[in-house]
Symmetry: C2
DNA sequence: TTTAATACATTAGAGTCTTATGTATTAGAC
DNA sequence: GTCTAATACATAAGACTCTAATGTATTAAA
């Protein structure tokens, strides 16, 4: 399945939505959760994930907290208030996008 | 609504699906049909449309037919057999994408 | 007669992702 | 005990797709 192009523009929303549901997560945990929820269909690459996390942090949607697990460091991410309102907006936009696409393609996707 | 990033990767499919439904169309007609079906929400720009049409033609999914309307020339596009089977595959991939995203985001979009 | 719509097209640049590469720790298999 | 896979972070070059800008030309309508 090379529907990878369809994933463009969804990564920010996925990260934000997962954090909204889970409270706080670290990068690697996000990749595993996405893999689990999609039954292995969707695999986030680090080259996409980390730059996106850093960007969302720089934009003030996320804040970080470093936690030492022995010698290994985990960087937990959490939504800011701005981030919380942003999730709602992005998910709404996505459902609007789906219904628009269904109309343009003239299909009725069964969920 | 800046959900424009979500549109990435959907243009080829939209063009192919419209041609599958309509038989043959010319570029400008496609932009108008998309605008109509999406109630003005989706506007194809020429910079995206024409390169994509040319690419699909080069890949053998479309064939063209030039028709003179007085002094103006219209270039009609039509699916090849390869194009026809490609549409089915791409639309299937899109519905799979939607159901996968619904699971990952843990939402139930109402259509 | 001038503006908007029709109709084609190209190009520079932006944004997002993939692929490749790098470092280091920890758990488990043999 | 040692090697491999999994865990955990990160950056960088390049590909791909789109936007915004620009260009040419015809036709309909105000």
């Amino acid at each position: 399945m090379h529907s990878k192009e369809l994933l463009k523009g969804t990564l920010q929303m996925i990260i934000l939505k997962l954090l909204a549901d889970e409270g706080k997560m670290y990068g690697y945990e996000i990749t595993q959760k996405v893999k689990e929820l999609s039954d292995g269909q969707m695999v986030l690459t680090e080259g996409a994930l980390y730059p996106t996390l850093h960007k969302l942090e720089a934009e003030g949607l996320l804040i970080t907290e470093k936690v030492s697990m022995g010698k290994r460091i985990r960087k937990y991410y959490r939504l800011t208030e701005t981030g919380q309102s942003s999730v709602l907006k992005k998910v709404d936009e996505f459902t609007d996008f789906i219904s628009m696409m269904s109309r343009v393609l003239q299909i009725k996707p069964a969920l």
